[in-house]
């Protein structure tokens, strides 16, 4: 910075004085550093949101598996083979329909009861369930529920059904 002063002879002169300041290069460097930090934070935020959404899917799938399992078990031993979730669980909040054979595999060695498409009305996410049972020991039946969903939601039912890449499995027992 230049300061205009007067000499002993009364003549003006310029005197250089060093003061604290930031140069353009320093400012640009700071901006670059902040930009990198913001971009890094954006990535962190993106993966946090993505993982939270995935956790939502898995949470809902686990709840649906438990819902089917408990409802099926509630029919009792004799009602195992005639259980129909379409008739028992369809509601305003949850749409349950026959998937026409689309869905995850039945548990190995179990007798298939049916495959169903389940839609959560609240968020519109689709799940597919396969219900199967095994006679097991006398007076005891194993009920198996497999709920599958597409972690990469595409918006199309057909695409989603083809891309089922995650499953939640639950086995419970019902006695005579």
């Amino acid at each position: 910075m230049t300061v205009l002063g007067l000499g002993e002879d009364g003549m003006p002169y310029r005197r250089c004085k060093l003061l604290a300041a930031v140069t353009l290069i320093e400012v640009m460097a700071a901006i670059v550093i902040i930009t990198i930090a913001v971009l890094g934070a954006s990535g962190y935020r993106y993966y946090s949101a993505l993982d939270a959404r995935r956790a939502d899917f898995q949470n809902a799938a686990a709840r649906i598996a438990l819902l089917l399992s408990e409802n099926w078990r509630g029919r009792g031993y004799d009602g195992t083979t005639s259980y129909d979730p379409v008739a028992h669980l369809n509601s305003d909040n949850l749409t349950v329909g026959d998937s026409g054979g689309v869905g995850p595999d039945y548990a190995s060695g179990f007798t298939g009861l049916g495959r169903y498409e389940i839609t959560s009305t609240n968020d519109g996410v689709h799940y597919w369930a396969a219900l199967s049972y095994d006679a097991g020991a006398d007076g005891l039946r194993m009920l198996n529920v497999v709920v599958a969903w597409a972690q990469r939601q595409t918006g199309s039912d057909d695409d989603a059904a083809a891309g089922l890449d995650k499953t939640f499995k639950l086995t419970t027992y019902v006695s005579e």
Partner: protein, 155 residues
């Protein structure tokens, strides 16, 4: 100077948007509506699972559900009731003494408030299981809890 101002404003916008997005994500996981849903499901499971399978009472319109349970392992009969009901937007469980065949078959003991922000709640019964369809809405976020539990006790 103008360039710097534009860059700083752009960075500020990105940072503010990031904070808002983070808040939205946080609310989706930890908002009262979400945590209340977990609590409601657990309470419903806990109460219904200890109930007797012999009988339960359900409102014709599904607005309330009453199940019965033993007060202690030594109780000879089902002597307590638990009624799930929505009162002023709150899901409540009313516990009381149940003495069927007497002049006062129900005597309220305690009322447990499970959660608030209830926009609708429908109960169903099916075989030995009971279902609850609970919709929560606090004006900004909504959540739906669909739960089923089997009544275990009894022969």
């Amino acid at each position: 100077m103008v360039t710097m101002l534009i860059v700083i404003l752009a960075l500020g916008t990105v940072i503010v948007d990031g904070i808002r997005g983070w808040q939205r994500t946080y609310d989706r996981v930890y908002a009262d509506v979400k945590t209340d849903g977990y609590v409601a499901r657990n309470v419903f499971d806990r109460v219904v699972r200890k109930a007797g399978r012999q009988t339960y009472l359900l409102a014709a319109d599904g607005s309330w559900l009453e199940v019965y349970y033993y007060s202690s392992p030594s109780a000879p009969t089902l002597d307590r009731y638990a009624r799930f009901v929505v009162v002023s937007g709150q899901l409540q469980v009313q516990h009381g003494v149940w003495a069927p065949g007497t002049a006062t078959p129900r005597s309220l003991l305690t009322t447990e408030t499970v959660c608030g922000n209830v926009s609708s709640c429908i109960f169903k019964g099916d075989g030995r299981s009971a279902q609850m369809e609970l919709a929560l809405d606090d004006g900004t976020l909504s959540a739906t809890v669909v739960s089923s539990a089997v009544m275990h006790n009894g022969s």
